[in-house]
Symmetry: C2
Subunit: 439 residues, 2 copies
Amino acid sequence: MDYSAKTKKLVGKASVGDRIAVRAGGGKYEGFLMPKHSGSPDTISLKLESGYDIGIRPEKISVVKKAKNAEPEPPPKHAHDPSKPVISILHTGGTIASKVDYKTGSAFPAFEPEELTNAVPEIKDLANFRASVLFQMLSEDMEPDHWVVMARRISEEIEKGSDGVIIFHGTDTMSYSAAAVSFMLQNLPVPVIFVGAQRSADRGSSDAAMNIICAVNFAVKSDFAGVGICMHGSASDNYCIINPAVNVKKMHTSRRDAFRPVDVKPYAKANYNGSVEILRSDYLRKDKKRKPVLRNGFEKKITLLKIRPGFNFRELELYKGYKGIILEGTGLGNAPVSVLDEFTKHHAKLLDSIEKMCAGGVKIFMVSQCPYGRVNMNVYSTGKLLQKAGIVPLRMTPEAAYVKLGWALANFPKQVEEIMLENFCGEIVENIKDDTFLI
Amino acid sequence: MDYSAKTKKLVGKASVGDRIAVRAGGGKYEGFLMPKHSGSPDTISLKLESGYDIGIRPEKISVVKKAKNAEPEPPPKHAHDPSKPVISILHTGGTIASKVDYKTGSAFPAFEPEELTNAVPEIKDLANFRASVLFQMLSEDMEPDHWVVMARRISEEIEKGSDGVIIFHGTDTMSYSAAAVSFMLQNLPVPVIFVGAQRSADRGSSDAAMNIICAVNFAVKSDFAGVGICMHGSASDNYCIINPAVNVKKMHTSRRDAFRPVDVKPYAKANYNGSVEILRSDYLRKDKKRKPVLRNGFEKKITLLKIRPGFNFRELELYKGYKGIILEGTGLGNAPVSVLDEFTKHHAKLLDSIEKMCAGGVKIFMVSQCPYGRVNMNVYSTGKLLQKAGIVPLRMTPEAAYVKLGWALANFPKQVEEIMLENFCGEIVENIKDDTFLI
């Protein structure tokens, strides 16, 4: 679509991708000039710092910064320093490695890993880096099949002598992936740290660099072995927290400190100044003699269903043929199965369906849709009915439970219930401390 | 099942339901004697204060308090005081009105409303109470059909001159019911306050009485009209918060302060000492001349699906024939629809399915599975693809979105999208303040 002659003149030498300042309607706006797809020929499309695109009728335009078009110089190669640990960086994509595509106006994964480590000079002297691209994707597209590859590749890096593995990952499904790696690759001798960003590196408020710096500092300086997620611990650029991979939730769509531990404390604070504060003692210590155990099978014929008023047997029975189901119950782990009045007559059929599915070998487990707190199906009559029908309560986040179920079904098909109730990596939280709510 | 002779002697005159003290294995336990269903004939079953049942081999038993068996005296009737407002109490059941059933060992709804207002003398002098039993159920069994009745009954109470309606309700689905009433009964002239309890009234740590006291004080003393949820605001017995009905989540399975506003501030603090502190100004004021609008249709052929790695077109297509779907996307409102590699080839089919369903008239809306923060489908390519396929983003909690969709489909079948995007009672949060995260 084209500009009107008047607007074309105002746009002048500014090109798509340039950072421009615009005066319009009494206000001043700064952002990236976007391609013109729609709207009046008198308006331009501007991508603001907030990530939003606005259509605007310009009165004056000045170029703040021209977009770079030239290919960047390849980063210089660093010589191996045997006095420093080897940190493997596995790149899977996500906002941490994305920049705006001025053709579609959207962010997409872009940077090569060397380019990125080069862009964060603070980490260069901490370790020898070995970077490779595993995937190039936003994490909402991540499939269980990717976890299988991810776990194997991490185990290969460790076999090749890596002292720590850092995984660049989109934030949308990072807690699922980190849980998957926790189950698929146990008995880890070194840290495996997932790191992401909520704002891309081309934005002033990006958390990409700080999160990477903190993840590398933690991996190098702490004695931690196991899987963690390193993200901003506050709204300021002061420290990251290392969340346990199996008790963590993305609690906010856009805040940089969106990742929060659920019902537990974080393992550590990694300060932006490079120091590391350990907050717990219940973790594996680094020990390069320890052999990791890789069991990366995953049964995909499973689902995660959220109970709600109106959930009924017809909906559950859609899932006939599924091997396993995680139900996100209400409250302590409930579902509508009691017959009380004319409106609840069909509840008996839901209880029946559950009983028949369980008897037929479908593994059904209950977690809660409340983000915090334990499931307890022994307090109310509903929980007791559901357990009698064959549902087993799990004290786990829905994310960890879903991932563990697919893993257990594939790797221990004859002991699924035992495995689900065994605590492999802290996924089952027995005692919840008061000071872990809403932190 | 029977006790051994030795245990029978130890149990002595204690009966099921009595509060007893037990010495066993070097420890001392206190709780309610439960019926003997299982275990060795040498053990007794004890319900502890925590709500748990334990099996225990007693060494000594003493009765702390006999269970009451006699029917309580009917509470005295109060004379109507024309100088005081009329508060209607609608009883639907839940923990707030439950006590332990010593036959099954579980909690179940039990108290009659008069018995309960009588049990909380602090509220007696504040108003004339008009109590009625609407349902007797735990809220996990609540169906949309119950909302229809509830909205009509509230409107009848208001028609009969009530100055405020307080609904005793289970906590599991209270945020769904409160949202349903918010849409079904708009333009309210008086406050409609939902109140529940996380611990039943027969437990020392019960929050039932304080929540009721605070709800009545708020309804009587504030100028608020509209729907709110009154629950503990902290882990102590000092104040309740009045949560907005359409921006609230049960954040914890068992804490008394489990209910939290999402992305907004609570309307008010209602202190246990009876004082009320208003925290916001964006609410309807009491005005008994205002006529409420009752639109209580509800389309039940809808669902709420949580996106996760592994969600695919086969699962979405199970819902053919549904009228509307709320998708709980990942992050800003995403779903796996981009084809990137061998593992994501089937993503094209999910995008196709969405497009076909939307074109066929199924209303599909996107919210986020992150508890806090806005959906924004204009930042990443995924969101743009999904919108192009026909999905409409909603800045609402999943609970409010689900309820609103069923309501919109039934009452405005030709304008569903417009209605979903119109802000009726604050369910759409445009500007999120920083200080509303994890409060």
